[in-house]
């Protein structure tokens, strides 16, 4: 089969590799019908995530048809159409029993590195480095899905791939970010840093949850336009003093909640750019610092943007001084699949709005470059695995 392989920093290759096999009794194999490049894949592309190995197959947003099931798979059968969440969860541990799916204890085959870094290992992810499990991802024609009864959600209706594909990650991720904001319908104001795909879903999810006002912060014009279409009040990071503008726009109080949908590669701080390049700092937390300062007293800072390690000059005193609640982490994707599929089927949201580029799988390396450089109006790339 064909698959997108990581071959080093800014080096992607489409290679012919062996088809996946069932390796464990709870595995299934899926023929991929649609797959996408996630903003977090760019952290891999740009070489900021350690423990990648040349030849690793990328991709954690994918869906398709079940073509083979392991002997212990009960809920799926060959021919089922499914969307697969990016978090791999066992369903039987302490965390899975609490619906904390991204904290699953049992899916990372080698927890050593991440335990040394973070103290504990969370759930393994598809195509996202060896410290997070090393599982082959779904930017491929076929993919092995472990714990097939726990993750994949069946799509019964004849609803299109475009509408349900993003249940795999960015829709639940944006939704959980908004849910974490404790929005009071008709009253709460939410500011979202980063209008990439996760930011776009966070904005729409905040409105779905009843936010009175949503402020969207970015510097890329087409991303701000897309946020504006959702009804957000947009602020251009290049022109505006974000902190002052937000203060004025919220009557001096500050937004009730701040969402950092940017993560470790924020632009705007030369200090972090230099330190990250010199490997003196893992992440560039520019958006995080701004969000931490701008959020109101007693407010919530919600962080769906990915951070990997140590960050400098975080105004923790501001968070403490204002009694800010910080909520963050990888998405407990499985928790949101059914309710969000219902919203899509009821016509409350059509997630395909975010797609700007459709590219054959064979052209994935070029698509990574376009997406990473934010060229050609690129916000979201969907790959066609048959081409």
């Amino acid at each position: 089969m064909k698959a997108v392989c990581w071959m080093g920093k800014k080096k992607m290759e489409v290679q012919t590799v062996d088809d996946p096999k069932i390796l464990n009794p709870r595995d299934c194999i899926i023929r991929v019908t649609s797959t996408a490049i996630c903003g977090s894949d760019l952290h891999l592309y740009n070489g900021y995530v350690p423990t990648m190995e040349k030849g690793d197959i990328l991709g954690h947003e994918f869906m398709g048809e079940v073509v083979e099931i392991g002997p212990m798979v009960k809920k799926l059968k060959v021919g089922d159409r499914v969307v697969v969440p990016f978090t791999i969860s066992c369903g039987g541990c302490f965390h899975c029993s609490r619906q904390e799916w991204s904290c699953c204890d049992n899916t990372n085959p080698d927890t050593g590195i991440i335990e040394a870094l973070n103290g504990f290992s969370g759930a393994a992810l598809f195509g996202y480095s060896h410290m997070l499990g090393g599982y082959a991802g779904g930017q491929a024609q076929y993919v092995r899905v472990p714990f097939a009864d726990v993750g994949p959600i069946k799509i019964k209706s004849n609803i299109s791939d475009d509408k349900v594909l993003f249940l795999s990650d960015i829709f639940p991720t944006g939704y959980m970010a908004a849910e974490n904001c404790n929005i009071e319908p008709g009253r709460s104001t939410v500011a979202v840093w980063g209008c990439g795909p996760v930011g776009q879903f966070a904005i729409r999810s905040a409105f779905l949850l009843g936010a009175a006002k949503v402020f969207a912060i970015d510097s890329v014009p087409e991303r701000l336009r897309m946020a504006e279409e959702a009804g957000a009040h947009v602020l251009n990071d290049k022109d505006d003093d974000i902190h002052e503008r937000l203060k004025i726009l919220t009557g001096g109080r500050g937004p009730d909640a701040a969402i950092d949908a940017v993560g470790m590669e924020a632009h705007g701080s030369a200090y972090d750019m230099v330190k990250q390049t010199l490997k003196l700092e893992n992440d560039r937390p520019y958006a995080l610092r701004q969000a931490m300062r701008a959020v109101r007293k007693g407010g919530v800072l919600s962080v769906p943007g990915v951070y990997s390690g140590f960050i400098d000059k975080v105004p923790f005193g501001a968070a403490f001084g204002k009694g800010v609640t910080i909520k963050q982490g990888q998405t407990h994707t499985q928790r949101y699949l059914r309710p969000l599929l219902d919203l899509i089927e009821d016509g409350k949201i059509d997630p395909s709005f975010v797609i700007t580029h459709r590219v054959p799988l064979s052209k994935a390396p070029e698509a990574y470059k376009t997406f990473s450089e934010k060229k050609d109006g690129c916000i979201k790339v969907v790959l066609d695995p048959t081409a």
Binding site: Q15, V17, K21, N24, F94, D105, A140, P146
Partner: protein, 196 residues
């Protein structure tokens, strides 16, 4: 039956005999060996976890390092692992010296083993009776000499990693019904070539 050990306290031998296990004996003096302790909470009742562990041959499923374990009798087993340098075999006989069903198993190597070792596994109810806290302590005495001391330092880390991996794999097998793996999955070059 193991030969009687003249150094072990009579009381211990009597107790062991009454419980049907081998007599205890200090095989790793307190200040000389490498000691590793790790704990994990598993969402299964102690009796299930104990039953798996009590049949020592089962441990070959969860120990990552290739090992062969053969039960010779209820309380005696033979262990064989490959060890550096090269791929030589290190073998020993292990005796169960304490066995409290659903609570604790303790073992030690038989006198004269190349690598003297001893260990315990404890099964304690987790708070709220939500699963079982499994605590393993492993001690061993590497072969002596300067090289031995150096190896001990090195293999101290190795032993810690082995115990950690064994416990995470044991937990996965008990809770998830399988041990997660990526061995044999699809990979691109150069990994594909390296695997062949």
């Amino acid at each position: 039956m193991p030969s009687p050990d003249p150094h072990s306290p009579r009381a211990s031998a009597t107790l062991a005999a009454r419980k049907g296990v081998a007599p205890s004996k200090i095989v790793v003096p307190g200040n000389q060996g490498v000691k590793v302790t790790r704990a994990v909470t598993i969402l299964k009742p102690a009796r299930v976890l104990y039953a798996f562990w009590r049949n020592l041959e089962n441990l070959a499923q969860v120990i990552k390092h290739p090992v062969s374990i053969t039960n010779r009798s209820k309380n005696e087993s033979h262990w064989s692992v490959s060890a550096p340098p090269g791929d030589r075999r290190v073998e020993w006989d292990a005796l169960i010296i304490n066995d409290e069903p659903n609570k604790l198993i303790a073992w030690r190597s038989r006198e004269g083993s190349e690598i003297a070792n001893a260990g315990t596994v404890r099964f304690d109810p987790a708070p709220g009776n939500e699963g079982t806290e499994v605590t393993v302590t492993l001690e061993y005495l590497p072969p002596g000499g300067k090289l031995g001391a150096l190896l001990a330092k090195f293999s101290g880390e190795e032993a810690e990693q082995q115990v950690r991996l064994t416990l995470t794999r044991f937990k996965a097998l008990m809770e998830a019904g399988e041990i997660p793996t990526i061995e044999g999955q699809s990979v691109g070059e150069p990994q594909r070539k390296n695997n062949q």
